[in-house]
Structures are given as structure tokens and as C-alpha cells.
């Protein structure tokens, strides 16, 4: 069961996208009114 659930604030972190561009959480959520974010193993 995921610890992060409805009503929680998304944690802070910095990751790179596949082009090497840094993505800052939670600041990236300001890029759109809503974000669909999925965790995946690979090859969905």
C-alpha cells in the first residue's frame, strides 16, 4: 500500500527527465492545473 494518499502533499525531490532536464517536485505541479503522475516498472 502506498504511503502517499489523497489529501497528502507530494514530497519534495529533484529528478531528471530522460533528456537530462532537472525536474523539481513539487514545483513542477505548477506547470498545469492538474497532473497525472504514474509510477511504473517499465514497458507498461
Amino acid at each position: 500500500m502506498a504511503k502517499l494518499t489523497v489529501g497528502d502533499q507530494f514530497p519534495a525531490a529533484i529528478l531528471n527527465d530522460i533528456d537530462g532536464v532537472a525536474v523539481n517536485f513539487p514545483a513542477v505541479f505548477k506547470n498545469a492545473p492538474a497532473t497525472v503522475l504514474f509510477f511504473y516498472r517499465g514497458r507498461w
Binding site: 494518499t5 489523497v6 509510477f39 517499465g42 507498461w44
Partner: protein, 132 residues
Amino acid sequence: MTAFVYEWERYLEGKVQILGISVEPPEEGKKLLERVTRDCQEDRPHIPLDPYPVRLLSDPDATLIRACGTENEGHWAGTIAAPVTYVVDSSGKVKWAYVSDSAADRPSPVALAKAACAVAAGRETPAAYPSK
């Protein structure tokens, strides 16, 4: 996710961004994106999905994956992300979540699109939407 991208193209473009996170290195993410883009172009050539509207992020140490509690430590390949889908508002608050039972268990594209639409419009996601 491809089915959801079709919903995105019809109803959500400009309102919703799509992010995908895994432990895979960037090279694998690029291969994946090239493949799903090609599949979409063959499947629905009338829909212009170039660039494919999903931004893939690499979390090789599972730092954010663990911070969200979505890690699967027991996989034969090592630590990977469990399949979980969130809809998050612009302030970073989680508004909707779907915790999958397996990699093949993903939320209905329509239910996910409805939830994303509601969040983008500043409405609460109705409890009737399938979410778990």
C-alpha cells in the same frame, strides 16, 4: 497509459500534464517513448501525438519512489516502483489515487480522465469515481 493519452488528446490537452516515474535509466525511457509513439501513430494516424505527451523521469535510486511509499523491494530485478497512479493539483496536493494490484491493473482511462478534469477545473473528484 496509451488509452489515457487518447482521452488526454480529446479532452485534457493544455489542462493536464502527464508524468511517469520509474527506476529505469533514461536510455530505457527513450526506447519506451519511441515505441509507444510509433504504436500510437500506427494505431491512430489521424491523432497527432508527436511529441508524445508523457514526460518520463528517471529515479534510479528510488528516492522519490520511496518517499511516496510506492517501492516494491521484493522484485527479482531489485527495487522497482509499484504501479500507482495519482492526480495532483497545481499546489502539489494529491487529489486522487489508484493503487494497482499488479502492473496489468491500471485505472480506467475514462475514470482517470474524469478525475483529472475535475482537478483541473478546481472541483473535488466525486467519491463515485473508481479510486483505491
